[in-house]
């Protein structure tokens, strides 16, 4: 660690003989990003994900042809310059559809994990902090959700609510709520007993304050890791549900749906299923690698190790 003056902060005026260590005041998240950048796998995964997200946001700008534009004369064209990923059985451009599929997959992934994160974290926070009957009631409900196989539960929810993108979001969120609740609760149970929580209570901090300022931030690292890993599974789950015809409905593209559509032509036109498949693999892999990287960086013991032995 170099002792450079605080960037952007008050001009560093070291008081003579000050026993305070003159170290740059670096917010924790900046330190986290710095450490993450030193882990090449996680850094590459983050960059690739960022690229996918940018492409998904500006979807139409990257496609030469509308994703639902049919061109029957040019059906089942193999990859070429005008159609880099080829065309499908209705002459639609696969690249355009993969790109639009990215925005669907990521939207479903982020929304469902976001929903599960909010609800699950709240449940875990309350269960872990208050314990006793609150814990019992909330966690038994979570256990009930856990008792169903994940995909079966999602299929059941979609069967009840009917297929479609927004219902897919809800279905995947319901599957992930108990996971977030458990991770949060376990983390909170450890933090709850910390002296600083008791110390803060001893100056009259309210429960709300204890939860939001002291317990949650210190319990966050495993939750962040879980978010990244859950995003991978949510993208996969969306693909699986769409493949089964329960998620995104045609003619809208989705990676899972495209796999299902390409399935029929797999012997004659491999590119129909290959490119959406690759998109799924790359996205899921990157979320997982990023999650692994975050886990290493956010683990306090590893953190000191890495910060101390850095090159």
């Amino acid at each position: 660690m170099t002792a450079v003056p605080t960037p952007g902060g008050t001009p560093a005026a070291p008081t003579p003989g000050s026993p305070i260590v003159t170290r740059p005041v670096r917010p924790r998240w900046r330190e986290t990003l710095g450490l993450l950048a030193r882990d090449p796998t996680a850094a590459i995964a983050a960059v690739v994900l960022l690229a996918i997200i940018v492409v998904a946001i500006f979807d139409t700008a990257f496609a030469s042809q509308g994703p639902n534009e049919q061109d029957i004369a040019n059906r089942l064209q193999s990859p070429s310059w005008s159609h880099p990923f080829g065309t499908d059985d209705l002459g639609r451009d696969i690249l355009a559809r993969v790109i639009l599929g990215a925005s669907v997959s990521l939207k479903v992934g982020f929304l469902s994990v976001g929903l599960a994160l909010v609800v699950g974290t709240l449940v875990g926070l309350l269960a872990g902090f208050y314990g006793r009957w609150v814990d019992d009631v909330l966690m038994r409900i979570m256990d009930m959700l856990f008792a169903f196989p994940a995909v079966l539960l999602a299929i059941a929810i979609l069967a009840i609510r009917g297929p479609g993108t927004s219902n897919t979001v809800i279905a995947i969120a319901v599957v992930y709520v108990p996971i977030f609740a458990r991770v949060t609760r376990a983390s909170v149970l450890g933090v709850r007993e910390e002296v600083y929580v008791r110390a803060s209570r001893s100056v009259g901090a309210s429960d709300l304050r204890l939860l939001t300022r002291h317990v949650l931030p210190n319990a966050a690292p495993p939750i962040i890791v879980q978010t990244s890993i859950s995003l991978a599974f949510a993208v996969l789950a969306e693909a699986a549900l769409s493949f089964l015809g329960l998620g995104t409905q045609p003619p809208n593209p989705s990676w899972g749906l495209m796999l299902a559509e390409g399935n029929e032509f797999i012997n004659r036109a491999w590119w129909l299923a290959f490119f959406p498949g690759i998109a799924i693999v790359v996205t899921v892999l990157c979320f997982n690698l990023l999650g692994d990287g975050l886990r290493d960086v956010l683990d306090p013991r590893q953190r000191t190790l890495m910060a101390g032995g850095g090159r």
């Binding site: 008050t10 305070i20 170290r23 002296v195 001893s202 100056v203 901090a205 309210s206 210190n218």
Partner: protein, 343 residues
């Protein structure tokens, strides 16, 4: 602050027959058994005893900081006219801070690692007075200056890991003092610090006490510290007060065999050398009794080197007045031991 408005004789804290029982897998643990004492304004009461004697639990119980699902607290603890043990949780939250502040043993764990020092100080200030962030921040900086932290303005933006142990403990004290409490509870506040820092912290507390008239409960097992700062001493063993009185009475004329054991385990540098060597220190043999299984008679009986009275094993000795004591404070000890107060 608030203490000065009270009549001088009115104690800040009056604890009467405090009992704490913890539910454990091995049955109920009687951790504190009928503790009574008072703390006057500007007075320092030292609570001494070895680990497991119930010192920390007895003060955590006062502020309701023990987990309610395992602890049962009975008795009375009147802080400035209000019973802490029966008040509502909302009122208790208002009292924590302006009524009583607490300094914990280990400064390494009593600050939140993800919040800056300033945020943690401001939190305590804003919990009790409706002031803007800017005002609270200025007051926080003043407090840090008062506890002797150099460059308080900049220290506000530092994180706990950037400060040394002594600095952190000053911050913890500043937080405890942020609402000018009538009572300051220091739970082994200097145990984790080295002796020079310890001396600075003690000086600091004494100075603040003189300025604000704060009553102090100082929990420690270090009798050297006790002799330095305390007005009166309360010796705890097995969750009971076995001896109390002024610091001079207790340290100069210990009556209870346990107090003598504690004092005997301290090196006395004024003592003449025996054959050119420092005489061996005495120890108190054995371990304190488990709070789940306290002896029926005197709690110290199983380890007592001088037990002779037949009542020792069967009957609990009452806290008997030995002498009127100096400064109007009685010197009391709970022992059947008749061998007198003097060694």
């Amino acid at each position: 602050m608030t203490a000065t408005s009270l009549p001088a004789a009115e104690p800040v804290l009056e604890v009467d027959d405090l009992r704490v029982e913890l539910r454990t897998p091995r049955g109920p643990a009687h951790v504190v058994n009928g503790l009574s004492y008072t703390v006057g304004p500007g007075e320092t009461v030292a609570v001494v005893g070895e680990s497991g004697s119930g010192k920390s639990v007895s003060v955590l119980a006062l502020l309701g900081l023990l987990p309610a699902r395992v602890a049962t607290v009975t008795g009375r603890a009147v802080l400035q006219g209000e019973d802490l043990l029966t008040m509502s949780s909302d009122r208790l939250r208002q009292v924590r801070g302006p009524g009583a502040g607490m300094v914990f043993q280990d400064p390494m764990t009593s600050l939140n690692p993800v919040l800056s020092i300033g945020k943690q100080l401001i939190e305590g200030i804003r919990a009790h007075s409706d002031v803007s962030k800017e005002v609270a921040r200025r007051r926080a900086a003043d407090l840090l200056g008062e506890v002797g932290l150099p460059d308080p303005e900049r220290a506000l933006d530092r994180y706990p890991h950037e400060l040394s142990g002594g600095m952190r403990q000053r911050v913890v004290i500043a937080i405890a003092l942020s609402n000018s409490p009538a009572l300051l509870i220091a739970d082994e506040a200097t145990t984790a610090l080295d002796v020079t820092v310890q001396a600075q912290i003690i000086d600091l507390v004494e100075r603040l006490q003189a300025d604000h008239g704060t009553g102090v409960i100082w929990i420690t097992h270090d009798l050297g510290v006790v002799a330095g700062i305390a007005d009166r001493v309360l010796v705890m063993y097995g969750g009971r007060c076995v001896e109390d009185g002024t610091v001079d009475d207790v340290l100069e004329h210990p009556a209870h065999p346990y107090t003598r054991g504690l004092l005997g385990s301290l090196p006395d540098l004024a003592q003449p050398l025996v054959d050119g060597r420092v005489p061996d220190l005495t120890t108190v043999p054995g371990l304190p009794p488990p709070p789940t299984d306290l002896p029926a008679g005197c709690v110290f009986w199983p380890r007592c080197p001088v037990r002779s009275d037949p009542r020792c094993e069967t009957e609990q000795p009452p806290l008997a007045v030995l002498s009127p004591g100096s400064g109007g404070l009685e010197h009391r000890a709970a022992t059947w031991c008749e061998s007198g107060a003097d060694r």
